[in-house]
């Protein structure tokens, strides 16, 4: 049997990140604690930098590689580029050492003497870096995967580190660990669904590759039981990852419990990766069955928008509000799947890019608002922030307006593109639901703005940290991107439009 043919250059982005992850594990094991932080950050940032470079080199590639298990085409290049940029920004937050978001030693029991000792001695473990690198590697592979096994492996490589990272919070460790466990259990459940669906699809098509399934759908009748059950359960697994209703219930708890830099990373990167996979499966693989899946995705999309926006109104914790907002945005993004046309692909890619910057920025600002015990996420204590710290409150307002989709911010451009693609496909019901949901959503974003500007500050020790250069750069880049994508989106749209083509089937 000949050795499998691997196109290293084309797969370089994934390989670089995974290799860096392996090296980072070795660094953890063999390098003395004193140098670890410096080495880990250098390693991670250079890996991402190299990754971006190698993605850029792939921009004219279109084909299937690694024995047909990975598809590299314009869509995956855009997605991988987006993922890497967001990873870079997320890593800037994770690497922040001016204030501690992460527990000193994750293995100590919360409240134990060991934990006290670890804190007192200023220990700060760096295992978060290899975990992050693996997660990025998985995220890069996920939207490019071109068979079910690769897709599953990518999903696990992406998810497993995230389960651990969610439990690393320094403050409210029990809540954080609970969140991690919840995420793990529900995630394992959804993985099982995913695998179950893959098995059925294999039974249906006799192959795990996407082209094989596509060919089978176009030749055989589309109402095969194996196909339908397989698709249904596979979709459940994916919907869980993008936190679409009714599989969204983990999101608020995990977003709240996880250390905020991790939440930021997760919110941006996982969403891009998962929707990337969504696009490849629904557009490029089971597009022939659009009449079967479209009604279901329409219902899920409307339900997700409704739950995300309505439940968010009742939230009192800023991270939970943002979590429900993330759910609502998944609903908006699903309208791009519903569209099922070329502009739907472009709009989804654009939306992911705009949303990622904004959401990273919001969570970055959440890391800054603190009291002696750590981050302050109780919304009532954010009141009067506009008076105390006009610049940070102003930038936060910009992000909130972008999340609400107000014109001249990136959020509007994304929403406009995605709703018009859905309208173009004739699915006006999702557009109307989307617009109404945006109106409701505007309410709770604006409520936070009101709170910051119209209420008086409380004297409870809440203050805004002066960000170190790393966090400051991350916030600055996100704010700038939110504005530029809102006012002059044309260059980015041009890039996406010229690249957003799936490899020919």
């Amino acid at each position: 049997m000949p050795a499998p043919k691997i196109e290293y250059a084309v797969l370089a982005p994934v390989l670089i990140l995974l290799a860096a992850g392996v090296i980072a594990v070795l660094v953890e094991a063999f390098v003395s604690r004193k140098y670890r932080y410096v080495i880990q950050t250098t390693l991670s940032f250079s890996a991402i930098g190299l990754g971006i470079l190698s993605v850029a080199l792939n921009k004219d590639v279109s084909g299937r590689f690694a024995e047909g298990s990975v598809a590299v085409d314009g869509v995956s290049v855009v997605l991988q580029g987006t993922i890497l940029v967001f990873s870079l920004l997320g890593l800037l937050l994770i690497a922040e050492r001016g204030f501690q978001s992460f527990t000193a030693q994750a293995s100590t029991l919360p409240g134990s003497a060991d934990e006290q000792r670890a804190l007192a001695s200023g220990l700060q473990q760096t295992e978060v870096f290899p975990l992050t690198l693996f997660a990025i590697g998985g995220a890069l592979l996920f939207p490019a995967a071109n068979d079910l096994i690769t897709l599953f492996v990518a999903l696990e490589v992406l998810s497993l580190p995230l389960y651990l990272m969610a439990g690393l919070s320094q403050r409210r460790r029990l809540l954080s660990q609970e969140a991690a466990l919840k995420y793990f259990l529900l995630g394992a459940f959804s993985s099982a669904f995913f695998l179950f669906g893959s098995a059925f699809l294999y039974g249906y098509a006799g192959t795990t590759t996407f082209e094989g399934i596509k060919v089978q759908i176009s030749t055989a009748p589309g109402n095969d039981l194996f196909l339908l059950v397989g698709l249904a359960t596979l979709t459940v697994g994916l919907l869980f990852k993008v936190s679409a209703a009714p599989f969204h219930s983990w999101t608020p708890d995990v977003y709240q419990g996880a250390p905020t830099p991790i939440t930021a990373f997760m919110a941006a990167v996982t969403k891009v990766a998962a929707f990337g996979a969504f696009l490849r499966i629904f557009y490029a693989t089971i597009g022939g069955m659009v009449w079967t899946w479209r009604p279901i995705i329409i219902v899920v999309s409307i339900l997700t928008m409704a739950i995300g926006t309505i439940v968010a109104i009742a939230q009192k914790d800023v991270k939970r509000v943002l979590a429900y907002s993330a759910i609502a945005h998944s609903g908006f993004l699903l309208t791009g799947i519903v569209a099922f046309n070329k502009s739907g692909v472009e709009a989804t890619l654009l939306y992911l890019a705009t949303y990622g910057f904004t959401t990273l920025g919001t969570f970055a600002i959440v890391t800054l608002v603190r009291d002696a015990g750590g981050e302050v996420t109780d919304l009532n204590r954010w009141s009067g922030l506009g008076k105390r710290s006009p610049l940070i409150a102003g930038i936060f307002t910009l992000f909130l307006l972008a999340l609400a989709g107000i014109p001249l911010t990136s959020g509007f451009v994304g929403k406009f593109a995605i709703f018009s693609s859905a309208y173009e496909s004739g699915n006006i019901s999702v557009v109307i639901a989307g617009v109404l949901a945006s109106a409701i959503a505007a309410f709770f974003y604006i409520r936070i703005v009101v709170l910051m500007y119209f209420n008086d500050p409380q004297e409870d020790g809440t203050s805004v940290m002066i960000p170190s250069p790393m966090t400051a750069i991350a916030i600055g880049v996100c704010a700038l991107a939110t504005l530029i994508l809102g006012i002059f989106p044309q260059p980015v749209i041009n890039v996406i439009d010229s690249l957003a083509i799936f490899v020919a089937g």
Binding site: S420, Y423, I428, V431, A439, V450, Y453, F454
Partner: protein, 499 residues
């Protein structure tokens, strides 16, 4: 020369300059804001002199590609209606700044911020009336909310935060419905015209099927009806007007609400003629309800809060304006456009003087005033003239417009016109009752030492009163500008039986 862009940029630059001044330089901030807004007003009037009154299309046209991927252009241009509304905004802004010299003191933020926000708002007002690209219009339509929101919420009185939020949510909701329709138009234009566009003149060429047209029309119409405000979409207005400072209320009712009625003519009628004709009678009924509803509430309020009273009278007046628009006659539409301008000035006068009365007496209750005619004769007279204009007394500006609206309506809907005429009688009641209570009668205790208008206030109110009287006698100046556009707009509706 890009007149409109320059006009729009000037206040924006001014606003930045005002905002960058140190916090203590309050007087300088006010002077700067006044200077810039006066300069803009002069520039606007200068521009108006080169406006060609004989033609109906857009003039001073500018068009640049902005986001080609979405067919979005930076397109500006004005016809007669837009020009007059822009001039209304340009004249009222310096008047408001001068009249409300000390209004920002009780605010949540610094004084300079108030004036910076006013100047930003001026830019938005110019933009919203000058935009010929629907997307650009939508942008200004929504962006306008932000300065107003801060002006009400930060510098108002009473339940200002709640009123500001209510205002914002109503408008935002309407705006999003309009957005849904805009997306619809955009997609349909892509199908029919080859390339998707937002250009108003291009979009008029679309031929929509009936159901689509009705839906898209409703998206626009509800947004504009909330803005205007038309019954039953009006509930935000009294709260907002009561909580806002008088200066903000002037711009809110005098100019911003006109965006609603302006939009009905510019977009609803021209883009969706069939849907307009189909729903016209319904809207006529809503207008009549507005006329009476506003009037009755104003009478009810005639012993209560003076700012609420004025805002209720405005609901009634907006009923007349929509009545004239949806009568689909050239006279009716000319009357409505003229009404928008005249209502702007007379409401401005009422609000400003009411604001001065409230500031002097520390009360906004009509019942707390009394005998002002004797204590403060000049203030009382100006209020009286503004009030008479508001009730459309012949010789003052609103008369001509109300007359034209009713005549124009009579041609098509005689019954509606007759019913509407009854509204004028109510107008006499809701103006004369408070005039009698506040200005005449014995001087109530606490009112003996009220001061009459000072020089600043006289200068501020003089141009407004002068214009109210001048337009009462020479409405033709305005009508010459309005008529070509109104005639073209009604002719484009292609109503059977009209020549």
């Amino acid at each position: 020369m890009n007149w409109l862009t320059i006009l729009g940029l000037l206040p924006l630059i001014g606003s930045a300059a005002v905002f960058l001044l140190p916090r203590e330089k309050e007087v300088l901030a006010k002077q700067l804001a006044l200077g810039i807004s006066s300069l803009v007003a002069v520039a606007g009037l200068a521009m108006a002199t080169s406006f060609d009154r004989g033609v109906s299309g857009f003039q001073f046209v500018e068009k640049y590609s902005w986001i080609p991927a979405f067919g979005i252009n930076y397109g500006l241009g004005v016809d007669g209606m837009a020009l007059l509304l822009i001039l209304l905004a340009l004249i009222l802004t310096p008047v408001v700044i001068l009249a409300c010299w000390n209004e920002a003191e009780g605010g949540r933020w610094s004084v300079k911020t108030f004036f910076a926000l006013l100047l930003i708002l001026e830019t938005m007002m110019i933009g919203v009336f000058a935009a010929t690209d629907i997307f650009l219009f939508y942008l200004f339509f929504e962006a306008m909310l932000i300065p107003v929101y801060f002006l009400i919420g930060g510098y108002g009185s009473g339940e200002r935060a709640a009123a500001a939020v209510k205002f914002l949510l109503y408008s935002l909701f309407g705006g999003l419905l309009m957005l849904a329709s805009i997306i619809g138009l955009y997609v349909v234009s892509g199908d029919q015209l080859g390339a998707a566009t937002f250009d108003v003149s291009e979009l008029q060429k679309l031929s929509l099927n009936n159901q689509t047209e009705l839906l898209l029309f409703l998206g626009f119409f509800i947004a504009f009806a909330i803005k205007a405000p038309l019954w039953p979409f009006h509930t935000w207005l009294p709260d907002a007007a009561k909580a806002a400072t008088p200066g903000t209320s002037v711009l809110l009712l005098g100019v911003l609400d006109k965006v609603g009625t302006y939009g009905m003519i510019r977009f609803c009628l021209s883009l969706f003629p069939d849907a307009s004709k189909q729903l016209g009678p319904t809207i006529i009924v809503l207008s009549l309800i507005s006329i009476f509803y506003g009037a009755f509430l104003a009478i009810w309020q005639s012993n209560g809060d003076i700012k609420r009273l004025i805002s209720y009278t405005s609901i009634s007046h907006f009923g007349f304006i929509t009545l004239g628009i949806f009568a689909f006659t050239a006279q009716g539409q000319s009357g409505s456009i003229l009404y928008m301008v005249n209502h702007g000035f007379s409401t401005a006068a009422l609000f400003l003087i009411a604001g001065w009365m409230i500031a002097r007496r520390n009360s906004s209750k009509v019942a707390d005033f009394g005998g002002l005619q004797r204590v403060t004769p000049l203030l009382a007279w100006t209020f009286f003239i503004a009030g008479l204009s508001s009730l459309a007394l012949p010789g003052l500006s609103s008369f001509v417009s109300e007359f034209l609206v009713l005549v124009g309506t009579f041609v098509r809907y005689p019954v509606a016109a007759v019913i509407g005429t009854l509204g004028i009688i109510l107008a006499a009641l809701y103006i004369l009752i408070p005039v009698q209570r506040a200005l005449h009668g014995p001087v109530l205790p606490g009112n003996e030492n009220l001061k009459d208008l000072n020089l600043r206030e006289k200068i501020a109110i003089a141009p407004v009163i002068a214009l109210i009287i001048a337009f009462g006698f020479f409405p033709q100046v305005l009508l010459n500008v309005i008529n070509p556009g109104a005639q073209a707009s009604v002719a484009a509706l292609n109503i059977e039986g009209d020549k």
